[in-house]
Symmetry: C3
Subunit: 395 residues, 3 copies
Amino acid sequence: MNLNEKINQLSQIKAELFKKDFLLTWEKSDEDLKTVLEVADILKEMRQQNISPRVFDTGLAISNFRDNSTRTRFSYASASNLLGLAVQDLDEQKSQIAHGETVRETANMISFLSDFIGIRDDMYLGEGNKYMREVGDALDEGFAQGVLPNRPGIVNLQCDMDHPTQSMADLLHLKKEFGSLENLKGKKIVMSWAYSPSYGKPLSVPQGIIGLMSRFGMDIELAYPEGYDLIPDIVDMAGKNAKASGGSFNVSHDMSEAMEGADIVYPKSWAPYHIMEERTKLLKAADKKGLDALEQSCLANNAKYKDWEYDEAKMKRTKNQDALYMHCLPADISGVSCKEGEVNADVFEKYRIKTYHEAGFKPYIIAAMMFTNKFKNPAAVLKQLVERGSKRIMA
Amino acid sequence: MNLNEKINQLSQIKAELFKKDFLLTWEKSDEDLKTVLEVADILKEMRQQNISPRVFDTGLAISNFRDNSTRTRFSYASASNLLGLAVQDLDEQKSQIAHGETVRETANMISFLSDFIGIRDDMYLGEGNKYMREVGDALDEGFAQGVLPNRPGIVNLQCDMDHPTQSMADLLHLKKEFGSLENLKGKKIVMSWAYSPSYGKPLSVPQGIIGLMSRFGMDIELAYPEGYDLIPDIVDMAGKNAKASGGSFNVSHDMSEAMEGADIVYPKSWAPYHIMEERTKLLKAADKKGLDALEQSCLANNAKYKDWEYDEAKMKRTKNQDALYMHCLPADISGVSCKEGEVNADVFEKYRIKTYHEAGFKPYIIAAMMFTNKFKNPAAVLKQLVERGSKRIMA
Amino acid sequence: MNLNEKINQLSQIKAELFKKDFLLTWEKSDEDLKTVLEVADILKEMRQQNISPRVFDTGLAISNFRDNSTRTRFSYASASNLLGLAVQDLDEQKSQIAHGETVRETANMISFLSDFIGIRDDMYLGEGNKYMREVGDALDEGFAQGVLPNRPGIVNLQCDMDHPTQSMADLLHLKKEFGSLENLKGKKIVMSWAYSPSYGKPLSVPQGIIGLMSRFGMDIELAYPEGYDLIPDIVDMAGKNAKASGGSFNVSHDMSEAMEGADIVYPKSWAPYHIMEERTKLLKAADKKGLDALEQSCLANNAKYKDWEYDEAKMKRTKNQDALYMHCLPADISGVSCKEGEVNADVFEKYRIKTYHEAGFKPYIIAAMMFTNKFKNPAAVLKQLVERGSKRIMA
């Protein structure tokens, strides 16, 4: 399908993304999600064809990372740049936020000429997504009061509940791998816990995956050792989604059995929900001793499940012994990035390039979230851009 | 008044800002100041109307923050971006300046393709503004010697003497609130010290306010506890300005009485002049013990003046019990950002949004300082920009 | 010569720079080097004439500095900005590379929408240049596998072997000072070690200078105290280059004698090759004690050669007592940036502005390396740009 056909197809979908923040996939309609996928796909195609999708002559995209990041940071920078925005980091070390400034005030102070704020805040269970909404409320007030010339959009770059730019990139990857969203119906995807020597990994990826993939008629298998639960509400929601979309949802506790007949596998470590709750309390109390103790006990407990590695034997149990392996990266690769980890080195190597392709959709997903936030009729604007035909690089 | 009318009005003012650094408001003529205000106002209006004022296709704006900042950093980034410049931070941690490089050399090394250097250096009394001039001299030499293709302009983003981007934003705010600069004649503005649990706050804001506002026929009341003096020369100058402009200037030492009949109040903490002198000596000597001792004694002394909080009782003494409250933000709000502080929470809340509007002028003030430094005839260029009519965001 | 004449001249040279990384000058043909010099010269002239050479509407230039830098950092940022690219720092502190991510993966993760990666990695002998090639291999794979829409170019911003952006800027400076590359034939250039109170300075500058200047028929004198050798292979190569280009190459151990009749002098400190090898071992072993011990012994040894300062007496022995003094900056200036150093203060002052001019070519050399990597026919594109005539700053 060429660009114009894709744009026409897009124009058929009725989305409600205009001027809305993108904080949780489960707040978005199926049409919203499809629109983001289509726009991302079109923007990627335009970039490939050297057609510049720049829609901003000037403007700032603020990046507020409250936790480390390489790929999401670069994806956000790439998306902002692709549309014509300059990235400005809000570095809380060099900012005065440490000096008792309120979220409400800061949100406005950084936004006088900003178009987007990308936020990563995944450390505190119950806090990250809440913080994004506080920022959003402050921006609403600032815009309503005439403080801000426009209401900057917020993009969730990972919080305690969801990681929508990741799960949407994953979904676009699946759409490409299987040909269409329709083809995902009846496919078995295994979101499995996997062993990692590290600890305190966020729940947002597994939660984001089951929360999103359950909406497309897939058979979701959530596998983890007893006790490594995710946030219950999100698991319940995923179950309801699966039923509603004609798929199924099952929780199990044996990695090897879970893989039986899988079309897609997503072996990834995370910290148990109750540990993350405990951790949040200790972090808030700045209880260094308590945190160290928790980490030790958690690592000791993890060590009981070193057999939760995605290896060749488990791969052999999947559909045609060749289920699509997915990971948000970086993976803990046994013998490569750690002694024992989430995935066997040979198995990872077999799918390594596919995980790069998977990651490669993220910049376009973020750009699509921005694009659909700014334009009521994205198809019309994309059409204009194609007609304008500005070259990204002179030729 | 529409854009073209504003631009025509601007074209009547004869300013001397072309190729001049903006280091102190009191080095600028009234026409210079009016020009900056008008250009800032026009740029803000253009942005609101989605007309891009981008005048640079490429170019760098260097930001050199030798002290923390959120709002000024973002204001500078916003202003630079609005005109088409990319911000490049000179981070003295990652630079080689720590390795004995001279100011003279560094100023040239970073400026080969730069258009502006924004500098915040407010820690050392007698040093910050001097440093900016050293940089300026180095740039003059570099340009004269053909090292630099053009002479980058310097914008003072806060020094030990003045905070011109703040005071000019405050002045534009007053102009908007009272309808015109003329309407400021005879208005009473109280620049008052206020209690803060912190210590060592720069003098540049109160000095900047009395140094600038005294030029528009206002009645200036400078109130502070005995001993909390500002730099004497600047206070003298403010007194002379007030007389010359048909206003008045009075120093007093009772916050409550000072507020009597005030049209505008600016309650803000600062460290006493002699303490800052002492502090500079100790900082230069890297006398950690001495600095800690000074901080303790200073905090102890501050604590005697906790009643220097702008509260409802004091507000009630102002004109119509409703003087315009101003602050450069962040304010130390009692019970919010600290136990006891500069301003009562309810009083601050009443004027909070107005302080946001006040802050919102800063990016445009900085952009106007840049614009008038680069163009001999800003009105003509603004006219061109309106005629060009490039959209900031595609529509 | 005007711009069009320069461009026509450029079009005569047959270079092979298209889609090639710039890692070592000695991997490039004479035509390649001449092409970079010509393009740099043309870009500088365009900037001077306010003609924007912007060829990218959007795009990222990644800067990966594994060692401190001010001037190269700003040169890279300036070059990127001049061509229309936004700089995105890969800060390994805030990135996840510290968390065991492989070079191969990271190289792809940051490159989905990137056009260039500029890398400084000069700490580890035998490692820096190797790292750049590992990154390059990863990018080749990513592009071949369809992960990356284009293969980002790599610019060596200083490694353990060479500092090509420095040596090429130095060469352009010499071309300007002496009128042409031809005029460099038979000129004597002294690359001399000089005393510095610091230690562990990279070998890349002296190696880069002898590796490059030996190709233009110059008489190269490499002078250093016994034991302060450079990498032997590079010294051998320089000797062969000199012979092949009709020049000469001589190693000597008396700074004063070396200066006899010199046309050009480059007095610069470096650490001995064998010390850097030792240092690399200790750094890898994270042997803090060993490193401190090595530093002490090395500094003690340096101290024996404090007379290796470029002073007036030595200058008097040069051609017309006025050899062109060169330095990559910052220089260790006796009595200015240190008690005793590489160069006498008066001598440095005499040539200070010329060292600024020397440094001023670097942004354009980097831009030229980028330009020639992206365009098969740079002359044709430059012609287009001149015809387009976009102004860099509105006028």
